[in-house]
Symmetry: D2
Subunit: 345 residues, 4 copies
């Protein structure tokens, strides 16, 4: 694990403690190298640090440190990730990265296991393109994950023409220390650097089709307004979908409710029973109440307020996804579970 002391790094520590398949052997971080993890980290969760990790020494971020490991999870910030992740891939490791640095590369899969499991085939292209002994797989931006999971069954079942989204994002999405309390207390910040471009770009890649070894992005134009709100965890998004056909809210609700993907079929350990939970109450989902819903807390997207838009060719809804679990660590862990089951590791 690279970047182990950050907000997302801590989620990996919690989620991998006691994992049936994955054993986290080495934690790395340059700033805290040689300290004990329990002493270096500003632990953010109410759950205590798992004991087996508290005493672990943090190592330098280099392939030598990871000797004996097969897979590297990277929770590094984008600027740090670029070179170091390639170095690990070159050295023979399978790198599963949270960072934005390589997400849009044409030979790098950008994975949400329920949505685009088949994109792992991009690794064939990657192997041909690059002289790496290992490989590099990425996972999307935390605002993308919930959105793409909800759009997948909609795009699959209906003729979708455009999507308009406003997000209300939690402070943990900016990492730690991230957003200063002096900026966000009793306030909303109507802008997040680079976020809107990333969300549109990554969502259309994820929903894209494999063709001739590469991914052709889905052609659904998207408009986004990303806001930061004083919430700790859980990105809330209002979603307006225009369609080229008549669809009722009930049909959409049914489609979302019954959606499952390969992780559910394969019963992967970190796969929630239902990737999408549809709530019928008029005032749900709410971040504080619903972010840890589902059989694997934080891995389900919760959708509510599914209703008609302006006409019978448009649908509105509100969705919530836990940004550091489904939007980060949990999605990466699930990706590795999928890769293991499919023989990529």
């Amino acid at each position: 694990l690279l970047g182990a002391t950050g907000a997302v790094g801590q989620r990996y520590i919690t989620m991998l403690s006691g994992h049936p398949l994955i054993s986290l052997e080495v934690v790395m971080g340059n700033r805290s190298a040689n300290k004990k993890y329990g002493e270096a980290v500003q632990w953010l969760s109410a759950e205590p640090i798992p004991e087996e990790f508290a005493a672990k020494k943090i190592l330098e971020s280099s392939p030598e440190s990871a000797d004996g490991c097969d897979v590297i999870f990277s929770a590094l910030p984008a600027h740090a990730a670029n070179d170091i992740e390639m170095e690990f891939a070159r050295a023979g490791f399978t790198v599963v990265s949270e960072a934005s640095a390589h997400r849009m590369n044409s030979d790098v899969p950008l994975m949400i296991p329920e949505v685009n499991a088949e994109h792992l085939k991009l690794l064939d292209l990657q192997r041909r393109n690059r002289s790496w002994k290992g490989s590099l797989v990425t996972t999307p931006n935390c605002t993308v994950t919930g959105l793409a999971i909800v759009l997948k069954p909609i795009v699959q079942n209906f003729n979708c023409s455009r999507v308009i989204v406003t997000s209300m994002q939690a402070v943990s999405g900016a990492g730690f220390p991230g957003v200063s309390s002096m900026l966000i207390v009793e306030n909303v910040i109507p802008y997040i650097e680079g976020e809107e471009e990333k969300v549109a770009r990554e969502t259309t890649k994820i929903l894209g089709k494999l063709k001739d070894g590469g991914v052709t992005p889905v052609e659904i134009p998207m408009a986004l307004s990303c806001n930061r709100v004083p919430v700790l965890d859980g990105h809330l998004e209002t979603l307006y979908v225009e369609l080229n056909e008549r669809v009722t809210p009930e049909e959409v609700a049914g489609t979302l409710d019954s959606f499952v993907g390969p992780p559910q079929e394969m019963r992967l350990p970190t796969a929630p029973d239902r990737p999408i939970i549809v709530r019928k109450e008029k005032d749900r989902p709410q971040p504080r109440l619903d972010r840890l819903s589902g059989s694997v807390p934080g891995m389900s997207v919760v959708v509510g307020r599914i209703r008609r838009g302006i006409d019978d060719r448009s649908i509105q809804m509100t969705l919530l996804s836990h940004n550091t679990i489904r939007g980060a660590a949990g999605n990466a862990i699930l990706t590795l579970e999928l890769m293991a089951r499919k023989g990529y590791v």
Copy 2:
């Protein structure tokens, strides 16, 4: 003033203290009747209660109490407003009401002075329809005000086909005590009872044309998602506008920036120099920083992030309007100033 001790009632008290034209003579409220205002009210503002009102005795809400007054401001909740406002109008008073009870009546003007000053002519129809000695004028929902002010110059100048809005509304919009801290601390509530219907309905009436003595609503379909956020004052709204023509963000910014209405031309005391303030920074408007902007604090709508939507026939932006000033007390006071200047009082 009816409903003087509520959150909006308190704004009237502050704004009318020292007003050049309007003298607030009587404060009424049934629950606190016969107490001194300063003792009955849970004062919510950092500015102290103006001394002349602190010692005033609160009277029963009845026309007799208002003997000697010409105009009644009503800051009553909808259920209380229905009968009592008509009683005052019948008794000869000009009633300017914040309440939703009568807003959509075909012979009741729903006023934002910069937007639809000419709708005051509905009072002719009202006089014919009703046997009242007085009259009744209403002002819109607090989420409508900012939206309608921004849409007015857009609708006037461009061929606008549909509007999609997500609001992030302050807790003071629900009145006092309103939203329990146990519901909203570290949370967002994705639903406000009745709000979305009201906003669409009232906005299209306000932007409508006078025709044959009545108002024909503008035909612009709107979709709304209204959310409550842990902010004290200031409703933030993301706005997506589809047009039937190509428009650049710069054109829209120029149009908004230069917009003025009758209150500015008449230099009414509560009219801000600019009804719309356009901000160029990428992270504005923010509720805590911008809600009291402008020459009359809280009376200007602040707009930022004006940018292209999905294509060159769509525009996105974020707007902020102070919900208890421009969205309530300030807008009602400005309406009365307009009525006085136009001879309706």
Copy 3:
């Protein structure tokens, strides 16, 4: 259960779902009578309503409704509790009450099972005094519970002369809807009606000795400053203790850390392994991180920053206790478990 839909009532519902000894049969509440619990309640927790209660019909608060039950838990507000609780006791029920109405009566035990289990003997006096077929036992104010648990081993082991406390209390301590968001967002309120008197009075009764069938309060003068802070759950208190002897922080820490009471010895189901958890980190306890600590979440008091006061005859510390669990529902349930084991039910 009386007052089942309130903030504390909801904790009972959660804690009694699946309880090994206590079966919650009837929920009562006058305002919501005849509705289904799941429809009447504004559920405040992220954990869903236990299914067996969601469908239960709420009954009128009267002894007839509780036919077949042995014990009544009361989570009523003080003004409502006074008569109704006596009515139930008179009718033969064992009433365990959260309300302040009867706490200071000389023949009513005010219970924290770890602190004053022997006070249950007051029930003998109560039986003699009153012609009730049942009995009435009370539990203290939510700010008292943590304080009295921490003071118990201090008073037992050291010669304690005075106690000075400042509390920072969560909004849930005021019940639901309780504190308006308009008052507490980005603020601290330095006063809670009646709280400081209650805390001093109840704490000295709880720490008092049984003598001649009655309780003689401990003679330790206390001064309190009670504040409300924008935190959802968990009352934090700074504690300054003056002693008549020299004591080191280490001695106090050891005494607190090793403290156990009858519930631990009897292994009662809701008893935490350790009533007091001593933290050594310099910045703990924190409400959001530590309120659910311990083997029974929310039942342990967490203490930190144990340090010398002004001289070596004074000790300072910070303590945290979950106000609706240890400070209310959990403490009442533990009291009933103790009563059952001791043969009072």
Copy 4:
């Protein structure tokens, strides 16, 4: 002005815009050197940046940059302040510093103009001790200022034996970006590094007597518990004072209410009419409502809840002081005004 872009630096900018005596000529900061102030700063206030400063170029922090100035205000963090402030003093400037680096030096005045104006005489000692052409004056920690102002009239008029304080401090006290939102949202942090020691040490120096050219600290032992709460501005403190004589709350209130110091007598521009405002309401002062009270907003300390302690030889109260105005920039400006009037500049 050194450290101009920080949270306190911004308060200087606002307070010195239009100041009748002081003209702010140069803003310095190493990290932002050569940028325009308006572009380098993350402006935190709702009031806009005064235009005359927005366009000013930030210069390197060196005596050459300040050529032509007489006085340097330093809003630097402690570690940066140590050397650079001495360098300016050596070069002939009068340095008024917010930083903690030199506060406790025996020949450096630690100033609150209402409290210890006569301590400026330490500058004679400083001149003898050091070979500086200029001089160095400091102002205290933001938690000290309110406390020392309130203790001054108490110590002057009554025989005070010990003081016990719990603070609830605003996030702006930690500077910008300071406290991460991920730590403080819906939480209280019961510890602030080094704060408790500073407050006791600095308060007793400020209340000390000049003797033989030095300051003898007042002998009043103090105990402190410092907490961080999710409030933007305004440090709230509960104060417990033990006395060697009987005193009534009314006597204390009268003494505080009538307290004035040299700045009031000299009518210095930044001196509030009353250094201490006594509130009689039972639930005041509150940070959000009262932090900007008084004739010079943020310069008065607001005191409330003055009441008996454990016995008639003890008094309790709650005080509020604006941490970046009276606790920082405002107090430093007032210090310079005093120095100018007394001929030290």
